[in-house]
């Protein structure tokens, strides 16, 4: 069975926020590009549905971690690009170290138990 057709696993919304912040770290992107980038970078394992992407983006906007700005898409259309703010950068760092810690902990449990 091709990987892309595997049943989609629900991504916890916390993880989605982390991924969005991470892909925006390398530069502003529009919504569709965010989803695509996550899809591609995860070797097509993770698929971000618009039903979870846009609510998450709205939440991140409210938190002030990203800012929206007008830009032109590759299809020459005026669209919103999302850019990481300094607060977002800080949040990303915090979440990354958190993630690492938890990840290490889980791994060590899996190894020894």
């Amino acid at each position: 069975m091709p990987i892309a057709n595997m049943p989609k696993t629900e991504m916890p919304s916390g993880a989605l926020v982390l991924l969005i912040l991470r892909v925006l770290h390398s530069g502003p992107l529009h919504g569709y590009a965010i989803a695509q980038r996550i899809h591609v970078l995860s070797s097509e394992v993770l698929r971000v549905e618009e039903g979870s992407l846009y609510p998450a983006l709205q939440r991140i906007l409210l938190k002030g971690w990203v800012k929206s700005e007008w830009g032109t898409s590759e299809t020459n259309r005026k669209v919103r690009f999302y850019r990481l703010t300094p607060a977002g950068r800080k949040q990303l760092d915090a979440e990354l170290s958190d993630y690492d810690r938890v990840n290490e902990a889980i791994k060590s449990v899996l190894k020894t138990a």
Binding site: H30, Y32, Y54, L61, S68
Partner: protein
């Protein structure tokens, strides 16, 4: 903080952000289509989900619900109107009661900076007094550094030449008007520059009301001379209409405290250190000073004064402060041993609050029943809404929004009703003009709060039942009827108790004869009489009065019946807590007022430690024992007199104790004169006799029966208002019963038709329809009786002779209720008899 700010930005620019979100989603789909993966799902739904992150969805829903609710109410005007009228009565009664409280208690007096004004009263561990000796006030004024100004006020009644009765005069410090920040309507007010000097010319400032009444609003009155107690004084000015000093009702005129001995010849108000008579004192706090700091400072100031006057200033005396910028109900003077009794206005406010809340309870229970019945009619609509995907929570919110809308409309109508009611009361009782019944923010907030509370009371339970499609279950419906019955029953019973009490008050004697007695107060103490000269005066008065034809007897008393004075003791040594009203009298007092001596003997000259006590006093203190010869606080009981409530007409628990008047009491004694015929014609002769002995005396002559009638009128007004409340409740409860019966008849048309087709008689059909009412009505009645019994326990202390277990009042109230309820239930029930079996069976 920042997030909240962004949230608000989203709310304010909702249209723009929504459009941007829609563009985002549309672009996403375009790109996905290019990539060859068509997206499923409803675009609008997606957008709503994303928007939910902003946290404003509830506003959109509320808007929807409100529009829908308004449409629903508009489509059934009959229901809406009934509901609003019910709520207006229920909420209006509460808003009016609160508005009144707000006017009198919560709102400050119309004076400058009311919050920095403090009232000071004397307190010591063993005694208390509301008034201070003038010298103490002056000492505090000189030495205090925490108070920027000290105000004093001494109210009394004086004779004004040309006025038909004694007028109310307030002697105030010259800074009174300046400190309270009022501008005179005409002329000038008192001021320290003119009126605080030793050779100041005697002047008076008229109150606005008195200027209208006595001088016909004549602007030329300023500069003219008036004669107060026969002494000339110049009218300096007229106070503003909204100024009443520091009391609730305005005095007739103000004049400087320094002029008091000039008007009241021989007065020692300014020199006496006894504090009786004294002045009421207010202080204005310097900025940054708290009342506690001022109290602490005054404690040491008073202690410093005590080193000079160790007997007149009490040990450990302090001046206790209370907010001074607010009117005090019952602002009279009192002094005594121990600590002052509890504030008597609180239980009254509590009773009024309980009664108006009962009305609201009836209205809410009623409306709850109506909403349930409406839920049945809307069954189809609700089923459809549920079928197209509305969840229970959504339906509940929708129904409750309707209730809220109704409650707001009811609150608005209730506020209008309350305003009209208050204004009518103000006009009818010639209240001071500065009491403005226009609602302020407190009243608005209260009306809003009570509206929301009402919506929860009448809306939540029925909405829940309707949503669960359980509205046919009759338990809630029956409890609602039961609650209405209970609440209106309490109101009716309390009204009945009051009416009975009034009836008893007018028919039964208060224990003394009030018809043929004149009270003559020569005010000897105020004119500086000492014990010896006062005795000479009273002997002369006795001789002159005895010589008048038609006078049967003359007695002296320290507390004339219903004369506004009182001396109460709450001794710790009593076997049970009791208010003892103390009177110092001459032996003729009992025969003059026709109070019988039941046991033992009357007081005799020389009885320095003998006392006569009232019958209920003896029964309470020495039940089952012989009261004669018992010791009470160092006195021996020599006689038992009949109960006679010469002060606390309204308190059936009050008891009396009589001492023989001693030499110290003589200057403050009042003569009681018993006439054989009508006292009206003799009153002027009595006054002339009292005046002829000493021309500087201006005796206060009153008919005891006039004071008595005034007391009764208070009870009458109370009984009338509670009766109106009770009738409102009864009306509401009847409406509820009619609604319930009509509804049940329409629901059971088919069943009734079958019964009739099978030959049921008319009375049988009626009993089937009415039977379901009997249980909630019975339970409600029982609850109501219990509630009324509890409430009247408090009432009996406040209102004359209310007996909390008066069987007639209970029976009458219950009878009226059952009769009205049955009659109103029969009106819709008769429709059941007109059911045509054929039609009923063919129906459906």
């Amino acid at each position: 903080m920042c997030e909240l700010f962004r949230r608000l930005r989203y709310l304010l620019n909702r249209g723009r952000f929504d459009q941007e979100l829609a563009d985002d989603l549309e672009f996403h789909r375009e790109m996905a289509a290019r990539a060859g993966s068509a997206l499923l799902g409803d675009a609008v739904r997606l957008r709503e989900d994303a928007r939910a992150a902003w946290g404003w969805t509830w506003i959109d829903r509320l808007g929807q619900d409100l529009r829908y609710a308004a449409r629903m109410l508009w489509r059934s005007p009959g229901f809406t109107l009934t509901a609003i009228v019910m709520l207006a009565i229920g909420i209006g009664a509460n808003v009016a009661a609160f508005g009144f409280l707000n006017l009198i208690v919560l709102r400050p007096l119309p004076v400058r900076d009311p919050d920095t004004l403090l009232r000071f009263e004397r307190r010591a561990p063993e005694q208390y007094a509301t008034d201070l000796p003038y010298a103490e006030m002056a000492f505090v004024r000189t030495h205090s550094t925490t108070l920027s100004a000290v105000l004093a006020d001494h109210g009394t009644r004086l004779t004004l030449t040309g006025a038909d009765k004694p007028i109310s005069v307030h002697f105030v410090t010259a800074n009174f008007f300046q400190e309270l920040g009022t501008q005179p309507r005409l002329g000038r007010a008192l001021d320290p520059l003119h009126d605080d000097t030793a050779d100041a010319e005697p002047v008076v400032v008229l109150s606005h009301g008195f200027w209208l009444r006595q001088f016909g609003a004549n602007p030329g009155v300023v500069g003219t001379t008036v004669y107060l107690n026969g002494k000339p004084a110049t009218v300096a000015g007229v106070a503003a209409a909204d100024f009443s000093g520091l009391s609730l009702s305005s005095p007739d005129l103000w004049t400087p405290l320094g002029a008091q001995p000039y008007f009241v010849e021989g007065s020692q108000l300014l020199t006496s250190l006894s504090g009786d008579p004294g002045v009421k004192m207010w202080g204005r706090l310097r900025s940054g000073v708290t009342p506690a700091i001022a109290e602490e400072e005054l404690r040491s100031v008073v202690a410093a004064m005590r080193t000079q006057h160790p007997t007149d200033i009490w040990e450990h005396e302090m001046l206790e402060s209370s907010p001074g910028g607010y009117a005090k109900i019952g602002g009279g003077s009192s002094r005594g041993l121990g600590t002052p009794g509890p504030d008597e206005t609180l239980p009254v406010i509590g009773i009024i609050g309980a009664l108006v809340l009962l009305i609201l309870a009836v209205a809410c229970a009623n409306l709850g029943g109506l909403l349930l019945a409406r839920g049945v009619a809307r069954e189809r609509e609700l089923t459809i809404r549920a079928a197209v995907g509305a969840g229970r929570a959504r339906l509940l919110r929708q129904l409750f929004t309707e209730s809220l809308l109704l409650a707001f409309l009811g609150s608005a109508a209730g506020m209008v009703l309350a305003f009209l009611l208050l204004r009518t009361v103000m006009l009818a009782t010639d209240a001071p003009p500065w009491l403005d019944p226009t609602p302020d923010w407190r009243v608005f907030a209260f009306a809003l709060g009570i509206g929301v509370t009402a919506a929860m009371l009448f809306g939540l339970a029925p909405a829940w039942q309707v949503v669960r499609q359980r509205h046919r279950a009759s338990l809630l419906r029956q409890s609602l009827i039961g609650a209405q019955v209970a609440a209106s029953c309490v109101l009716l019973i309390v009204a009945g108790l009051l009416v009975r009490a009034l009836d008893r008050a007018t028919s039964a004697a208060p224990g003394f004869d009030h018809e043929h007695v004149i009270a003559v107060d020569p005010g000897l103490a105020e004119h500086g009489y000492a014990a010896g000269s006062a005795q000479t005066y009273l002997d002369a008065l006795h001789a002159r009065l005895g010589a008048l034809p038609g006078i049967e007897s003359v007695a002296l008393t320290s507390t004339p019946p219903l004369g506004g004075r009182r001396s109460v003791s709450r001794p710790k040594s009593a076997r049970r807590p009791v208010d003892i009203y103390i009177n110092r009298v001459t032996p003729a007092f009992f025969s003059t007022l026709k109070i019988p001596i039941l046991l033992g003997r009357n007081l005799q000259p020389g009885d320095s430690h003998g006392i006569v006590v009232s019958e209920s006093f003896a029964l309470g203190q020495w039940p089952g024992e012989d009261p004669l010869g018992q010791l009470f606080e160092g006195n021996t009981v020599v006689g038992i007199a009949g109960n006679a409530r010469w002060v606390a007409l309204q308190d059936p628990d009050a008891v009396e104790m009589y001492h023989l008047a001693s030499a110290d009491d003589v200057p403050s004694l009042v003569a009681m004169v018993r006439t054989s015929g009508s006292p009206e014609s003799l009153a002027p002769l009595v006054a002339a006799a009292a005046k002829a002995i000493d021309p500087k005396i201006f005796p206060d002559v009153r008919l005891v029966k006039t004071s008595y009638a005034g007391k009764l009128r208070e009870t009458e007004i109370t009984a009338l208002s509670v009766t109106i409340l009770g009738m409102c409740a009864l009306l509401l409860a009847c409406l509820g019963i009619v609604g319930l019966v009509a509804y049940s008849v329409s629901q059971r048309t088919k069943e009734i038709g079958i019964r009739m087709a099978l030959g049921a008689s008319g009375s049988h059909v009626l009993s089937v329809v009415l039977r379901q009412l009997s249980r909630p009505v019975l339970v409600g009645l029982l609850l109501g009786i219990a509630g009324a019994a509890a409430l009247s326990q408090v009432l009996r202390r406040e209102l004359y002779g209310v007996s909390n277990l008066d069987p007639l009042a209970y029976a009458a109230a219950i009878g009226v209720f059952i009769l009205t309820a049955t009659l109103t239930a029969l009106v819709p029930a008769r429709r059941a008899l007109r059911v045509d079996p054929l039609k009923a069976l063919r129906y459906e």
